[in-house]
Symmetry: D2
Subunit: 462 residues, 4 copies
């Protein structure tokens, strides 16, 4: 296993990563991106075990509902880079379980890749969303054939790929890019049916980062995003060679969607479990800020908090049902129930904006206009800021300011904006989640129930 420092060193591997027009040669030392490195390094240290054959608990493959349940708090604690790695590994295990008809060497390669990743304690990000070009056209009909990542050359010991993968959270901060087709492919789309693992520092890989990290000289008023931010990678494969042992699919169009579906399931489970955790946090913030404002006893405030509580409970129920009704694949890997996972993720995402509206309604304008920590330290206005932010003998002005800063950071500033969009888009957009839910629902059983109450069950051969 790696220590935090070893992780930091591992990033000095020649990777080509860019930010706002400049190439970044020292990620760890960059004023904004360095914080992501530091946070990730701390996560390594927290789970470090010096035993020589130790592997990270974050990289194990769950084999039961209990295993699945136990991973959830662990992953919340370990942070984003561990979470995406876990998701990558489960995606491969789930996909492998669904691919037993294709060339068995693919499955062997995946298992080997996972084993090596466990030994080396690396971080893996999932590269799925292509640039896509014109969404109304399939890959082979695009004006630019590279709009979807594709094989541009097949050589004796590997393939060469070209294209871009977008919205890859943490791409510059991991070691491997798990690159898979973004959707089902059809005959004639063999070159776009490519799944593989690519080292971040492979020749031809270039990553453009964007981030919601606060630019403020003083990040104290960003209790969440001041320390936890994970830049998005715009990952370009500019003719990158991939050796055969890292190729998990090449041309078998029938299996192109298996990876996306597997990843989708795990991304939505991860998304759902994050929503469940955050829903409680939002309830807690709403209650704390109502108490700090002196409005916790007002009927409409209680009603809004009750609605937030019901929301938190509903999505928790879907997470529980998704785990309790998990399946176990042929190799013994457990995966959550598709139906409950997708319905829960959809509901959580679709209602998030409304839940935040309640929080903003309860908290008040001070979310935006509370003085900064430095103002509280100013000789001329610091005491006055404290005086007027206080709401009584029990509610200190700086405590209340801190609540307001937290609410702003989480829901009404750059990080909050990132969440609004990510909630909707992660795991494929609201529409995709509807479709997947529909696909896994037993529509025939529902039709039979309807025929029965209509008294038509006997002659349903119309």
């Amino acid at each position: 296993m790696l220590t935090g420092d070893q992780y930091k060193d591992s990033l000095q591997d020649g990777r080509q990563t860019f930010f706002e027009g400049e190439k970044i040669d020292d990620l760890a030392g960059h004023p904004l991106l360095g914080q992501t490195v530091a946070t990730t390094a701390a996560g390594y240290d927290r789970f470090y075990d010096p035993a020589p054959d130790a592997t990270s608990p974050l990289m194990t493959v769950p084999s039961s509902a209990d295993d699945l349940r136990e991973m959830i708090p662990l992953l919340h604690e370990a942070g984003m880079m561990a979470h995406v790695t876990y998701t990558s590994i489960q995606t491969l295990k789930t996909a492998a379980g669904r691919m037993n008809d294709v060339k068995p060497d693919y499955i062997e390669r995946m298992d080997a890749f996972i084993a090596e990743a466990q030994v080396n304690d690396v971080r893996i990000t999932q590269c799925i969303t292509d640039a896509k070009g014109d969404r109304s056209l399939p890959p082979a009909k695009q004006d630019d054939l590279d709009s979807y990542v594709r094989v541009v050359d097949r050589q004796r010991d590997g393939v060469v790929i070209r294209g871009a993968k977008l919205h890859i959270t943490g791409a510059s901060f991991g070691h491997e890019l798990l690159t898979i087709p973004t959707k089902a492919m059809k005959a004639g789309e063999e070159d776009w049916s490519i799944g593989c693992a690519v080292p971040v520092n492979a020749e031809g890989v270039r990553i453009i980062n964007t981030t919601y990290a606060p630019r403020h000289a003083d990040t104290r008023s960003f209790p969440v995003s001041g320390t936890h931010h994970y830049p998005e990678g715009f990952v370009i494969f500019d003719d990158v060679f991939v050796p055969h042992e890292r190729v998990f699919l090449d041309g078998e169009t029938a299996f192109a969607a298996v990876f996306a579906h597997s990843l989708g399931l795990w991304e939505r489970l991860g998304g759902l479990s994050a929503f469940v955790e955050e829903a409680d946090q939002l309830v807690g913030l709403a209650q704390l800020v109502a108490e700090a404002n002196g409005t916790a006893g007002i009927a409409h405030v209680k009603e809004k908090i009750s609605e937030m509580i019901i929301h938190a409970t509903l999505i928790r129920a879907t997470l529980e049902a998704a785990i309790e009704n998990c399946s176990v694949g042929p190799e013994g890997a457990a995966f959550p129930n598709e139906l409950f996972t997708n319905a829960g993720k959809f509901h959580a995402a679709a209602n998030y904006n409304h839940i935040v509206r309640h929080l903003h309604d309860i908290a008040g304008g001070a979310v935006l206009t509370t003085p900064s920590p430095a103002d509280f330290e100013n000789e001329q206005v610091g005491e006055l800021a404290r005086k007027y932010m206080s709401t009584g003998p029990d509610i200190d002005g700086e405590y209340r300011a801190r609540l307001m800063h937290t609410i702003r950071d989480l829901t009404a500033d750059s990080y909050g904006g990132w969440k609004f969009v990510t909630n909707i888009q992660a795991g494929g957009g609201l529409y995709a989640q509807r479709i997947v839910t529909r696909r896994h629902y037993d529509l025939d059983a529902a039709k039979l129930k309807a025929l029965q109450i209509a008294g038509l069950a006997e002659n349903d051969d119309h």
Copy 2:
């Protein structure tokens, strides 16, 4: 156990029951109310076991999550009168488990009452909602002190009660009225803190029935409510004597709410399980009617059905979580998780009208304007009705008519109207379900989570 015929005979016990201005002396022979008797009698016959010491499976007390789960389809099959009886028994068991501080003879009496009910295979309805008078005043401040059922006299071997209980589904069709306080009581409200069981034919009991039963000469176009309708009872206790062995609470104000809370839980579980079943039926009807109309492939129709599917899945998840996370009381009786039951029931009820809107949107105006079965038999227009209700070689006109009649009966006629209101009101109204959810949610844990992300967890003593 009783056969259907024995059940019919058992109703000839002198009960005073009224309908639209007239006293009904022969319930079984009444043109509208007789159907309820017949349906209930058929339910008796279906579960009848001639063994001398047999008791109905519908009256057992579940002791595990599996027991709870297995009862659900059984109860749907057995019908309303069995369902309310089951709910009554579980309410008493749950209340008993929560009352171990009060006089132990109450618990003995309840157990005796349950045992006797099992032996005699009777049907029990729950009488909870009082007339209530002016809702802004407590019982003892009402202009009419009988606005809540109360003890007007205490005698050597029993008590005399007066008041009315409203919205008592099937009251005239059972044998016992389980009468409990509708809400928490306070000091000074001892007389209103009365819980007891009263035979339907007790002297002083009078029941006014209302019903959504179709009045049509030909009920074929009412595939659901034509055979399954359960009149609501407006139950009046006009100075009714109740012997001590049937009194389960008398004056202990601190425990008045225990019965209402226990009943609320079981009513909401029953309501939730009905919603879950019906949600699938509504999905099935939407899909069948879309197929019959030729619109099943249209994007916005698919979207609406997907929304209905997600709704069905969400509430199914809450039912699963409620059962999976059940508790077992001191006497071994299992009861479902309060939090998930209430949140699920709330969500199901709050969104029902919207889901029905989708069904109406998909089905079209023919829900209302489809000719009746008799029209299809008319020589002059029958063939024309069939011709124009047909939508192609595979969709017979009468089949499609039947679907439309079913949708109307379920959602857009008298029974549908009854459901719209009952869905909202059963188990205490939307507001009550919000409050109960809130009460069972761990708000302190949520506040702690909020303090943690705000970095304030250490000094949360402000």
Copy 3:
């Protein structure tokens, strides 16, 4: 102009109208349908003017916003049969204004038809929705070519039509059937591009009625639908001859949609104005029943009523804007603004179920379980019913019962069910209203505004 009695006589014209399997020879004398005749006759009497050249104010053509506004209360007062007649006349005027390119004799014929209708004071219903067969196929591809009304023969002095028109409110109670294509037609669909006026008693016309009229022996507990119900007609044209002077379109496919669009506009205006009126009624009922229950001061009840008030105000604003921004056609006929009319109608229909949920939530289960008027007269239970329905010295039990009956009749019984579906379907379903709103919105102007804030307005030629 006709008196009510003359109207009754006019229905004895040999029309072929059916109800629940039987042909009705005396509409006025039928126990259910006779009420519709009586109500319509009373409407005639109310507006009767004995002057020999008088015409009904309900049949005038508005020429300004003020005219449009003044018609609204008049039409609400005059009832359904006057409303559909007014809608038919305005539809023809609006369509005529949009058809000035086609054969001018069509416009002459329409004007002549309107003039004659005014002189004879007849009632006209709009026949638009076809049987439609398989909705995924166009008229000429249907298994049954009569799925859309079509010309099956063209003769020297007229045409012969065949097909059916569905959901025709009041068809059996008017004199003329204004029959128009249900949608746009394309080349090859000339035979289905037929618009004409057909007398109800024309040979070959047969109408099957359905109705939400209450079947109760005592209709006092149906304060609205007990007297006001308008059966829906399933109108069959079984080879009906139409003389040329009553043909308003025959084969000009390009103009087939003009009638549907014109009717859609006026139907939606009528629908919107009804929603506006009813929204106030629902607010009023909610407030009255809250006061009667003693809950008018409770916060969540006030919140719900406030939401109902905001809804009523929003849709009133769209009606005001639709009228204020009306256009005047080439012949001087005013018609309301399409954009505001459609958006308002959509919003009103889409939110109706939710508004009713609030009313049910506030009113309580007594909506369903209040004893009937006859129960109040019963010697044994009448006084008790009154006692327990009363909620204090100021709220008489029968008054409160009446409120509950009204709410049930309007929203939770047969008529209420009819409204749930009709609200959604009238004017073409929610989807159609979205499309029409979109079509009339200035999307290019919105795009320009977006380009301006993006700083891209100059180079929007990408």
Copy 4:
């Protein structure tokens, strides 16, 4: 009138204004706040008229619906500081019209203040929201009596006030602080019933600024907030003397709420008109980005845009109805209709988050992850960024990037977060807008309509 340069000079008046812990002595030269000065100065120049007795068109008092309508685009063009000045003047005119019973010298003073403001072309901000302390307690019961601004001393020629006003947009960038009570006051709250105008540079005034202005070195990817940002002022009155001629209320508790109600009306009108304008922008962005993505023809995307269109149309209807139904006060000043203004503002605010969800759903993850303008200029990745952001021959990568940046800036970054909260809070929070709508709705008329359909209109004296 002032030129932009004269405006800049006018800010050098000794005002005490702070930002993130530091006092700002040169507002115009501050790297962040200077932009606000520059934008405001440009607004001055745009409307400058050198005629010696010219006054700004932005400061006129409208006297008709047409006047009200014409001001709207003018104010959108002139920017925030002009808008708040206009709102302040109309608030005083409306309040004056409602205060004719109190001391007439107040009205004279207000008129004099307005006249002087017009001559000097100053900018006025409205200071309404107090610090408020514990919201469950009235001003005189607060632990800190300064929680609401109050008179702490009355002197011969004026009063001394203490307290703070929060969320004062642009407070540091205007010249006068129009300070009014935040709510109704009661007997015993005379000291808190203070309305007055205070120069920004008055002794004792201190303002702490907060801002959503982007901190990025390169603000090109902030097309809106890069140039238009208006810091919020936390305005402290630390014993500030106000001469009598600037006091508009002092102790007349009965009139304390008049100012807040008047300001509320104008703030909500301004808010509504901004929502109407922005709703079109959001529709335009959704359509442009759908076209750029190649998804404009997909059914669910069209549905979402249709929903956005209906929303934009609904709120436009309320604005039209609010203006068309305006009233004219005793002094000839027009003010919009309260009912439509409040209902429209509520609906716009309540649904904003949902509308933005649609935009995010349509636009995709590129809202967050599009490379920055500087990346497009980088030699190593610029061309690749352009290649992969392009979606076909007609959609240039940088054009599409610009759309994404605009959407992020408006809805998913600091400025977007500010809008989410401000939309809800401006004009008093959603709850306040509900209450005001309810207050202005004719509930008695609605009750009468309900009684009429219930057949109870005659005997409504229960």
